[in-house]
Symmetry: C2
Subunit: 193 residues, 2 copies
């Protein structure tokens, strides 16, 4: 069991409906020490892969992606879910369903921030049905750039995202993969990696 799985067992809670709450260390209150270990682990897993930019989506992914970018010493870009008054006119867009908010949403990235020379590592806190990651990947490719890989902190192995990403040909690294959760007992089962 790795450091992240241990932390999920200790401080995560299972809720009905396939919800895993990790808001005490990952996506509301953020334990930056833990996130540094997550960043170092991605750096190790993607060692030797050329990466020029980290891409994530607001706002759950930002904390992890910023620390990962710090580890890789590259800039981080985050896709927005609303179009602010000060956003460029020339944007890349893609649609994704948010599992957490249970709504369809459109993602925006300013076109000038992904260039054809970019090798982009996509980072997100959760992977469920893969909609956000695949939407980010489609934006990278529509800019003529390359997806260097997809790094996920917690993958819900019972859902289809992991399969869809691999089927699309992307390299996927998930630091913890959950194969089962029981809201009654609180049990969490991880996939052996």
């Amino acid at each position: 069991m790795n450091f992240l799985e241990e932390r999920i067992l200790r401080d995560g809670t299972v809720r009905p409906g396939g919800v895993l709450k990790v808001d005490g260390f990952l996506n509301h209150l953020v334990d930056v020490g833990l996130v540094n270990r997550i960043g170092a682990e991605f750096k190790k897993r993607f060692a030797g892969v050329e990466i020029t930019k980290i891409l994530t989506v607001e706002s759950g992914g930002i904390a992890v992606a910023v620390i990962v970018a710090n580890c890789f010493n590259v800039p981080v870009l985050y896709a927005k879910k609303t179009r602010a008054v000060n956003m460029d006119d020339d944007v890349l867009t893609a649609d994704a369903y948010s599992y957490t908010h249970q709504t369809e949403c459109r993602l925006f990235v300013s076109k000038r921030f992904i260039v054809p020379e970019d090798k982009v590592l996509i980072i997100d806190d959760f992977l469920a049905n893969g909609e956000a990651s695949l939407a980010l990947a489609s934006m990278v490719e529509s800019a003529g750039a390359e997806v260097a890989g997809i790094g996920i902190v917690i993958e819900k192995g019972m859902q289809k995202g992991g399969g869809l990403i691999k089927k699309a040909g992307y390299r996927l690294e998930s630091l913890a993969i959950i194969d089962g959760m029981d809201p009654e007992t609180g049990e969490i089962r991880f996939r052996e990696q």
Copy 2:
């Protein structure tokens, strides 16, 4: 002129309506090297101040706040603007007007993540009318904790936020204060600090 003011002059753009675009290095594409210097500068300015937690608001503030938390070696908490299905029932709330999105919004923080012993440093990317910072401060105090200070990357000195924060008795550190912008010439005037 400090490193941040130099960067704003080089890569920021002035738009009509008092809008300063810094999306090429601060709040869309994020230059993590620059943000590390911002974190180090806050660490210097708040040297000797006891700080147990960083608080910010999604999503513009998260990138800077995570790096600041890394510099101070404390956790970072970010207030949410929507209430996700997996959020605690027991929350602190406050209302703020978003200058960027030009809408009123409600901020949420899970009550259990601010304890009376906390000394909280509030961090945000922009300060305009002060609504977000003051809303965060009110949540800290309603939890019985203490606001250790407010750290802002870019303060719009023409607007009332800085004055309101100081009048309320909070220590404010803004790394760049803009006293005037001209969308026609692109000129940006900084306040001498």
